[in-house]
Subunit: 288 residues, 2 copies
Amino acid sequence: MSNDTEKQTASAWFKELRDQICASFEAIEDDCTGPLSNREPGRFERKSWQRTNQSDGAEGGGGTMSIMRGGRVFEKVGVNISTVHGTFEPEFAKNMPGADKDPSFFATGVSLVAHMNSPRVPAVHMNTRFISTQKAWFGGGADLNTALPIVKDTADFHAAFKAACHRHGDSYYERFKKWCDEYFFIPHRNKPRGEGGIFYDQLASGDWAADFAFTQDVGRSFNEIYPALVRRHMNEAWTDAEREKLLEYRGLYAEFNLVYDRGTSFGLKTGGNVDAILMSLPPEAKWP
Amino acid sequence: MSNDTEKQTASAWFKELRDQICASFEAIEDDCTGPLSNREPGRFERKSWQRTNQSDGAEGGGGTMSIMRGGRVFEKVGVNISTVHGTFEPEFAKNMPGADKDPSFFATGVSLVAHMNSPRVPAVHMNTRFISTQKAWFGGGADLNTALPIVKDTADFHAAFKAACHRHGDSYYERFKKWCDEYFFIPHRNKPRGEGGIFYDQLASGDWAADFAFTQDVGRSFNEIYPALVRRHMNEAWTDAEREKLLEYRGLYAEFNLVYDRGTSFGLKTGGNVDAILMSLPPEAKWP
């Protein structure tokens, strides 16, 4: 269980990170001189939602979606924050740490998915969260999703998170990279969803401040390396054939999210905010 | 349990129906004078697969996918037949009629999904099958999936299956229409996948010949009404805005198939033929 200061500190950080990321992404739109720079630079639009359709009056909270569509570089990107509390459904509570006896929970986090116009610019997913039941922990991660992977980009993405991990725990990178590889795998295609990254959950070392600092570092590292990778390729022209490869790759991405992603299927089947959950789906995909 | 004659009779019918449907659809391609009639008429290509990657040597059989892509009318349509036998996984066997003591099974069927270029021409799904364990039964159905539904088309589609049902059982239409409405519903969108049709399963009246005759009638009725609906609209021009509505509608369709459809999720998670299972996914979809 966590105290109010911790909850508020975590929640405030996710909001601050959201603002920093949105600013980075809008700056990318401003600076693009590539194929679609005849468009106006994309801008985020915000839309808030309340967690109201619950039968239990103790449920509450809500979130804000920040979505940018049809930009010069970003085809569709969502940066969602939410802070909610309530009681888990019995079926769910028994599988959640610290919720078996008392199903009440608090959860706050930021979740981001970026789909890009260019097949040469990687797409990405990032999420960090803090959850409190009778226990309390951090979780999150980031993974790169590229139709046409480039070895140096993949290496630099991994290196950024390796550095962040090594600043906080000797075993973190090895464990969290492996966890990511295992989670973002599409069994029926027998291939990974993308190039991986890190994934961690139930991080509760006993030192709240240290775990929070790591989660902050993951967010800050993301907001350094990902914009750098985007800028590396955003002004390159691409071919129709490359764009077709991107659209097919996005089919796989949608398959993973709808068939396997625990957050998506749990959210959809338990009355979560559908728009926020499905923000992750690609703006356009093909199964030719 | 069914005898070999019944198994062969059912399997032969599904193959014959496949041939009849493919002929109907290719005739539509020939007769189209609409917006994309500068293309060559589409033709089905066949690809067979064997059920070989099973650890149990008693497993066997296979199927044939017939796929037509990029036609004048049909953007992507698959008509798959398969005849397989083996033993259900223990987890699955306990939920299958007649398989709790002996998990061996035989299954044969035809499955069809058509996605159309024009937002004014309905998409459709049709499937009929015969399954034999220590029990034996038929199942199947058909449902219409239109981005821009037209009242008369929907009514005519339902009327065709109502007539087929009434030729075989007084209660069939009412029960099977309701079953379809309940099955093809997307809870997280709180809307149906399409305009419905009929859906039935575990049909075992005690009269094999009667149940087979009904299943044949469902297939023949499909091959009358659906081509008629396609021909009704295939030469109409459509707008870009209508096509966008089609692509968004297909996003919902993909959500249903990947999140809720039992056949899809079961097939993907148990090593079915991925290409045949995912044939149902739309050639292009949008989540704007």
